[in-house]
Symmetry: C2
């Protein structure tokens, strides 16, 4: 029996490694269109920040290790163009254009996601780039060096945009961020997003939310990002307006799609076709708070889903409970973290959301070095359930968020969460951690 | 109706403030034997570390605030010596020796705990001190200054001993720790406790576990701590071998005691006598993992229990689920955290414990500044439940521990915990957080 995997990134290589470990006799074939597998994509902004570091430092395991040490039939430069679920075959072309065909017993679609590029003039100009693959990272790093970039425009204000603004500022590059939505971080409570905005502006980033980009032009020595009321000049433009699932090949094969055109999978990661699974950024997931489908492409889920498929195809059927949408990013000296639903999402899913936002301290009264931390918490008036938490602070927000994330998995009420015996010592929190203070305050409104 | 509270520390003042806030007409009387209320006891080692800071910086709220702003009848210098549950009275003496008597409708015993002092020669010598009350902190700080202390011996190796060893080293004082038990941190897995030991020794602390102290003698200019095989000279001796609940006055009144002579309370903090509650370090608690009684005196529980009693006596009956035994301390550059049961405790309570210890990284592959973090995890073979976690690392251990603490409250299995959607970004953890890696490994053994 063989196991064919389309895509050699987090989900694909996790599945391949685990399947081979669980069943060394299984033939495991990975078809990856690029030459890179197994690298820390999330580490790219931090690597780009440092001109002395090689971007290939982000490679966790070389293709030869997968091939020679793990016995995985890893075929890089293999782009899959069609799946035939009935015949059990995938077809495609190699980088040199030659056709290939592979038969599968079990198939995993782990094609990931691609950066969204607007269909507007000039987005194909040299110096207009996005950051998704390691090759994108190489290209950006090379471009900055070769063109001695001093000015950059980033289109978009998601977490890649924010992380890249820090990376570029670290290299002394002037950075302007621009996007159509007038709200800076629309999913975040305004008191918390203001802290992020102030931090970025204090570090010299110019933010222009509420400006639609009409196109990009090539000037004499600079690119010009054209908006209705202004034009921004830069040597480099980073397009970071989001990603979309690479689900075309699945759709063409008649496999059902889901939210945002991600591949629909059940709790066992099976698609609408038997023996065909999907995992990683191309696939949807159940949300543990709503119990409904969602599409939140994140690395941990990709790894976990890859493992689950490997377990299933090697004989141990696994189902996954789903995601809580927990995420964190660092932007300059701030940690920004969230889990679960926003007030708006909660209302959309039939909850009766009540929210509370507090400013607490990261350390105990009178303990030196403490700073402010903002906590926003959402509960459900009907059931009392905890629905979501957001945090922004200079320390401790990133790891704090895991506690309410676990509470969401446990379907805890705010009252149950407020009774949790959290750790206390003066260097790390007040006696009542800011999360508990927010929960105590929220309880009064529920 | 009145509400009388014996003890004006965390539990007592939390109860007083909350009762008065919920029912401003209620007469709330607090009888506190010292002159200090509402201070951050846990902050004392960090304050002692800094000769420039006044120890009274640790006072969160002055007595006058409780009296004038909050309307609490706070009587400092009032030592309660007897409770008469039948008559509903407490009797005692003020600091000047005068007797007093107070009638109560509802009574809260919040007498806290005292440092254990062994009944051995020389423990009453000047320069032999312990650290529990703010007055203890004042005395230690004054003593260090007046005697220009350069050498100290700490008897005991609990977290106060460890925190104080850092505080004294910070002031350039030579520090020796000694105790009878040959195991350094007996509750901690050996691989993790070794990291703590190495950190302390690297910072110049001498550790002598396995040495029983026979007594202390006054030498010409130094104290001499006498053991079977050695004598340690120092200007100052800190006795930090643990604490015991101040439950004598409760016991004398016929109130039932519990583990380690703590006052036995139900989930509503009621003692064996009606209208008499106990909260804080003097009282026991239910353990959320075992469901049985335990005595783990910690600040958050004290605050929470004080609030619960206040809610109950003001008409909103509250019960508390209990404690998970979550605790954290900092020792030099290490964060040491734990929650739940050790393997030994788990076995004692009828579980079939299986353990796993891993060394992970605090940040992602190739992210600068990461360091090693040790995670020890205990699960139950029979039920699959997560039972306890210990962590030691240079960053992130303190806040990470809250995630498994919440899982213990939710009675999660290791399998459920391993599926939790925790936060990931390269500056904060690998994709699989070390906690998840430990849980994944533990799962294989369960």
């Amino acid at each position: 029996m063989n196991f064919v995997i389309i895509g050699g990134d987090a989900a694909g290589m996790s599945a391949a490694s685990r399947a081979k470990r669980r069943n060394p006799d299984m033939e495991v074939i990975v078809l990856e269109q690029t030459k890179d597998v197994s690298y820390s994509a999330c580490g790219m902004p931090y690597n780009i920040a440092d001109p002395e570091r090689d971007i290939d430092d982000l490679i966790v395991r070389q293709p030869t290790v997968f091939r020679e040490k793990q016995g995985i039939d890893l075929r890089t430069g293999h782009r899959v163009e069609a799946i035939d679920p009935g015949k059990g075959t995938v077809k495609g072309r190699t980088l040199d254009g030659g056709p290939f065909q592979v038969e599968f017993d079990e198939l995993l679609i782990a094609t990931g996601a691609s950066a969204l590029i607007p269909d507007l003039p000039g987005f194909d100009l040299p110096g207009v780039m996005s950051l998704k693959s390691l090759e994108d990272g190489r290209r950006i790093k090379r471009f900055i060096k070769e063109h001695r970039v001093k000015q950059a425009v980033i289109i978009g204000m998601g977490y890649i945009a924010l992380e890249m603004s820090e990376a570029l500022r670290t290299r002394g590059i002037e950075v302007v961020l621009i996007k159509p939505n007038p709200l800076f971080l629309p999913w975040m409570h305004e008191k918390l997003s203001r802290a992020v905005r102030e931090e970025m502006e204090a570090k010299g980033v110019q933010l222009y939310p509420g400006h639609e980009v009409k196109g990009i032009e090539q000037g004499d020595s600079r690119l010009r990002v054209i908006c209705a009321d202004r034009a921004l000049e830069a040597q480099m433009v980073l397009v970071a307006i989001g990603v979309q699932p690479n689900s075309g090949v699945a759709q063409d094969a008649g496999i059902a799609l889901s939210i945002a055109n991600s591949v629909a999978v059940d709790r066992g990661l099976l698609t609408s076709k038997s023996h065909i699974y999907a995992a990683g950024d191309c696939a949807d997931a159940y949300h543990v708070v709503t119990g409904e489908k969602t599409w939140i492409p994140l690395a941990l889920r990709a790894n976990r889903a890859g493992w689950a498929v490997a377990d299933t195809v090697t004989g141990k059927a696994v189902t996954l409970p789903g995601v809580a949408g927990t995420a964190v990013f660092k932007v300059f000296d701030l940690e920004v973290a969230h889990t679960g639903l926003t007030v708006e999402e909660a209302a959309e899913h039939g909850f009766e959301p009540v929210e509370m936002t507090i400013q607490g301290r990261t350390r105990a009264h009178a303990h030196p070095g403490g700073s402010s931390i903002g906590v926003h918490m959402v509960g459900d008036r009907k059931s009392g359930r905890l629905l979501g938490v957001q945090m922004v602070g200079r320390e401790g927000a990133a790891h704090r968020i895991d506690a309410p994330a676990v509470a969401l998995h446990g379907k805890m009420t705010v009252e149950e969460f407020v009774q949790c015996d959290l750790a206390y010592a003066p260097p790390f929190s007040p006696v009542w951690d800011p999360m508990l203070t927010a929960a105590n305050q929220l309880l009064k409104s529920l």
